[in-house]
Amino acid sequence: MKKAFSNPLTILGFVIIASILLLALTAPFIAPYDPNAIDVKVILLAPSYNHWMGTDGLGRDVFSRMLYGARISLMVGFVAVGIATAIGIVLGAIAGFYRGWVDTVIMRTVDVMLSIPTFFLILAVIAFLTPSIWNIMIVIGLTSWMGVTRLVRAEFLSLRNREFVLAAQALGAKDARLIFTHLLPNSLTPIIVSSILGIASAVLVESGLSFLGLGVQAPQASWGNILTDGKEYIQFAWWLSLFPGLAILITVLGYNLLGDGLRDAYNPRTSR
């Protein structure tokens, strides 16, 4: 841990993520306005002391909407990646531990899933369901577990025949005990790293979907759909486009910096 945080970029990533988390959690207390309150007297005001990030086409305060959008972004990231990681750990552990035909079936399923363009897959599923934040999170989760599965399987395969595991097995440990107390804890670092990087891409996918109008639906604020509004007014209200885009960029950058920093710190091959 100490080694990971000797890299200033990793610290930067951590600070970014921690601040956004804090802002999102305290949004109801620090947001100066109701994010959905329409006020026709203050339509499309430029950023000022009263409205830090200006107002949108319906007179809603952009800063308040950005704060609530942060909650959506974080929730989608965590829940989607939580689903993906849970599926990945279960399938990867089964494949890596039992090998044989189960392994073949699981890994071939991974190959099949990887050969369908993910964004097409997500959009196709959404077309058959109603777009809502819950559906988005579930769909992103169900279409992004393949990487974790491969990772956990590879870890399990390499740990499976190590002395400490064989010793535990010789002492009569059951499969479940081997998996949960010996193999899984020793595979945790790469799983955490891949989850952090996974959150970054889930945030990007959610904002893309919301931008296309297929994600979080108005009036609920998300960075993606604030940007969709911004697109309409780009010629005379730059603030509507600038802030949500920057927020997505900074958030994704934060997760990537943190994830990469942790990986480099624990990977002897790249940390020379």
């Binding site: 369908i116 363009p117 990007l204 904002s207 296309l212 486009s241």
Partner: protein
């Protein structure tokens, strides 16, 4: 080599069956069956299109028969006709009794998407290779640091946002580049040279937007690959033989660092195809991505299922080509030493 190719080719069959299963599963995702789904947004189309859906996918038959019929559709590339655009065939052209040809929707859209993707692959290779090599050779110096910063931003920047900014800056503020479609309105009246330059101008932004994430990824990949290779013993040997630095870097190191790149290209194909949705719908380019997006908005199920299948098949072909290219480029695989 031949045996490897044959094996690799046959391997596509189970993958195709898997893809047919997943797409079949997606068709039946909606609560009940798709014909009664609440998701059929469009109230006008509902009863009529439900009936059409029932006929198209034989939803009144047992599931196993439905799957058999879906498999047959996939095998013959017959995805039916579009609900939304006047019964146009989804995949390939059809001729009616009077000999009038109606072009297929994917048939028209696919070449455009392929063109954009090929151009962005060229852009990616042309830019990412030098960036990655420079970054590795100047490890931890200013050039490396700036390239790494660029790579991180390239990874994190939302493509649709960058597209908006570039559209505004180069199209609205300065009018340097056209911001939508593939041709200007006056395209028909131009000379052929002007036509080519007109089309190219329309392609600049979409190609750049489709390529930006890949560009960042491949630069990083080349950098790390080069760093790994440069630390190996045979590079030291080459240096101690007294070879020039250029020969060591480009003749010995780069060639080996590039090998895995072939596989990475194969793996990046689904991302490129899927990413075309955003780029094409922002720039109003009539390719596969825009077609798919419009189909999703209008719940045009035959088109959705058709593009999903074709997209997966394209990915399989891309991966196959990448594996064949790898086998050809790596003498160890070519001569059957490994695998």
């Amino acid at each position: 080599m031949l045996k490897y190719l044959l094996k690799r080719f046959l391997w596509m069959i189970p993958l195709l069956i898997g893809i047919s299963l997943i797409s079949f599963f997606i068709m039946h995702l909606a609560p009940g069956d798709i014909t009664t789904s609440e998701a059929s947004f469009n109230p006008k189309a509902s009863e009529e299109s439900r009936q059409k859906l029932r006929e198209l996918y034989s939803l009144d038959k047992p599931v196993i028969v439905q799957y058999g019929l879906w498999l047959k559709r996939m095998a013959t590339f017959d995805f039916g006709t579009s609900f939304a655009s006047h019964q146009r065939p989804v995949f390939w052209q059809t001729k009616d009794k009077d000999g009038n040809v109606t072009l297929g929707m994917i048939q028209e859209a696919l070449p455009i998407t392929l063109l954009i993707n090929v151009l962005s692959l060229i852009l990616i290779v042309g830019t990412a290779l030098p960036l990655g090599v420079i970054s590795a050779l100047k490890q931890n110096q200013l050039a490396d640091r700036s390239i790494t910063l660029f790579v991180f931003i390239g990874f994190a920047i939302p493509g649709f946002w960058l597209a908006l900014i570039l559209m505004y800056w180069t199209g609205v503020q300065h009018a340097w580049l056209p911001i939508s479609g593939l041709q200007s309105i006056s395209h028909e009246n131009m000379g052929w040279l002007a036509q080519i330059s007109d089309s190219l101008k329309h392609l600049v932004l979409p190609v750049f937007i489709s390529g930006i994430t890949g560009l960042a990824g491949i630069s990083l990949f080349v950098r790390n690959g080069m760093l790994e290779v440069l630390h190996q013993d045979y590079i030291t040997t080459a240096r101690s033989k007294g070879l020039s630095e250029n020969r060591v870097v480009y003749g010995h190191a780069l060639r080996n660092a590039l090998l895995p790149l072939i596989t990475i290209f194969g793996l990046s194909i689904p991302g490129l195809i899927g990413g075309s949705v955003i780029a094409e719908s922002i720039f109003a380019i009539p390719g596969m991505g825009k077609l798919f997006y419009d189909a999703v908005l209008m719940r045009d199920f035959p088109v959705i299922m058709g593009i999903l299948t074709i997209g997966a098949i394209l990915t399989l072909i891309g991966n196959l080509l990448a594996d064949v290219a790898y086998a050809w480029a790596d003498p160890r695989v070519r001569r059957g030493v490994v695998r």
